[in-house]
């Protein structure tokens, strides 16, 4: 769920940029090391970022009738790992702002934190936890992708509630309002993305097995 350009007041936009910066800088350093060791890795990284962008441009059938777009958070975190996703996610969010008018430049920091940091880390941790608990792979992938999506939506609601506290109910009242308004689209979206990611991971696994044979 992208926060649109201009929606956040200047102070909040700046604060979220500062909060996201260490994750992006750490990811960028890792990426620079990878590229220094293997110059050809930049092609793989670019393909991965391009893939994540295209994923976000695809329409996802939603039960509420409206069409939404997958975030690719869960699949990206499982395939490439959360630190790399912080940089790739930032690039993808920048391209989405400039090419699709989704998100923005002043809200990039807030969007990076929710979609390229919080979402991928939650998805990755849930996926690893599910593996440790011995849950079936499909269940782990579904939980990782859908809860990663919900984490993104939860963090965005917190960001909006912090920026616009309710006059009577304060931060909590605002959080309930924002989470309630966006739940209509985001909860079905999270379920749908979880299912799509399971189908995608199963098909990728099948392909790997076939290639192995």
């Amino acid at each position: 769920m992208h926060i649109m350009e201009g929606f956040l007041p200047a102070g909040h936009a700046l604060a979220w940029t500062v909060v996201s910066a260490p994750f992006v800088v750490a990811g960028a350093r890792r990426l620079k090391r990878m590229v220094a060791e293997r110059p050809e890795a930049r092609l793989t990284l670019a393909a991965a970022a391009g893939f994540t962008f295209v994923l976000s441009a695809l329409k996802l059938p939603s039960v509420t009738g409206s069409c939404s777009h997958p975030t690719g958070t869960g699949l990206g975190a499982i395939q490439f790992g959360p630190p790399v996703m912080a940089v790739l996610g930032t690039l993808v969010l920048l391209f989405q702002a400039l090419l699709l008018a989704h998100g923005g430049l002043t809200t990039l920091g807030a969007n990076v934190f929710s979609m390229a940091v919080a979402g991928p880390w939650v998805a990755w941790m849930i996926w690893r936890l599910a593996e440790r608990l011995g849950l079936p792979s499909a269940v782990g992938v579904f939980l990782a992708a859908s809860l990663g999506d919900l984490a993104t939506y939860g963090v965005t609601s917190v960001q909006l509630a912090l920026a616009f506290p309710d006059a009577a109910g304060g931060f909590t009242g605002a959080l309930v309002k924002f989470a309630g308004v966006f739940a209509l689209t985001q909860v079905p979206l999270a379920v749908a993305e979880g299912l799509v990611t399971v189908v995608a991971m199963n098909a990728l696994e099948e392909r790997r097995l076939r290639a192995g044979i």
Partner: protein
């Protein structure tokens, strides 16, 4: 395949204008939009950004309206939450009768117009090359430029897979659509990686050393444009602060 905004930027009247000119105008207005009081600051920014896009850059009015409509969906949904208050265990119309919500929508519309002014007049590779000149690490800039090149190839591949699925009734009904989308994603990722691998082999055969130099024509900055942009921004800031 092309993207709508990119097509406008590549074919627009300001295509050959220096990136710095457009960045000073659009980002300067954007900073004013989020830092000045929404009324009258954001309203003035909105008017200047629309004027610059329609009369300066010559963006067709229909295309410009279509671009601006997209971000308003989020703005209006978010504003709906701001127009109500949580009290006595229920939701009521806010005490300010929705004034705060209207001001946020105004600021979002102004901010989005500034972003669109930049995006619809400046192709993304120009912005990345400009960022490189002001300190973006070379490795990140190159990965970003390569990503930009991959986007269109992958969008083409995704469209082809989707057309094939639709021809086989793969997008009839919710369950089948979800399955088709999952299969599309699963087909696209190996294709993206395979394309990267083939490109890597091709480049290695040509002595790839990690850098992909590309033609980048130098476009001189226009002092008159910069003076007009900065003057206009100073006037917007001055009038806004005076009126508020």
């Amino acid at each position: 395949m092309t993207l709508f905004i990119d097509r406008l930027a590549q074919a627009g009247r300001w295509r050959r204008r220096a990136t710095a000119d457009k960045v000073v105008l659009a980002l300067g207005l954007l900073l004013l939009a989020i830092s000045l009081p929404p009324w009258p600051g954001a309203a003035l920014v909105l008017a200047v950004a629309w004027g610059a896009a329609l009369f300066g850059a010559g963006v067709p009015p229909g295309d410009w309206l279509r671009l601006n409509a997209a971000p308003l969906g989020f703005a209006l949904t978010g504003a709906a939450a701001l127009a109500v208050e949580w009290s006595d265990g229920g939701v009521h119309l806010a005490a300010d009768h929705g004034v705060r919500a209207a001001l946020v929508v105004l600021r979002t519309a102004a901010g989005a117009s500034c972003l669109l002014l930049l995006a619809a007049t400046t192709p993304t590779p120009d912005l990345l090359r400009g960022s490189r000149r002001v300190g973006l690490p070379a490795e990140i800039a190159e990965v970003a430029l390569l990503t930009w090149r991959f986007l269109f190839l992958l969008l083409d591949a995704a469209a082809a897979i989707r057309a094939a699925q639709e021809a086989r009734l793969g997008w009839q009904g919710w369950r089948r659509s979800l399955r088709s989308l999952g299969l599309l994603v699963a087909m696209l990722l190996p294709r993206a990686m395979e394309r990267a691998r083939r490109l890597e082999i091709g480049l290695a055969a040509r002595g790839f050393n990690g850098s992909l130099p590309m033609l980048s024509p130098v476009r001189p900055v226009s002092p008159a444009f910069l003076v007009a942009a900065l003057g206009g921004e100073a006037m917007v800031a001055g009038v806004s602060l005076w009126l508020s």
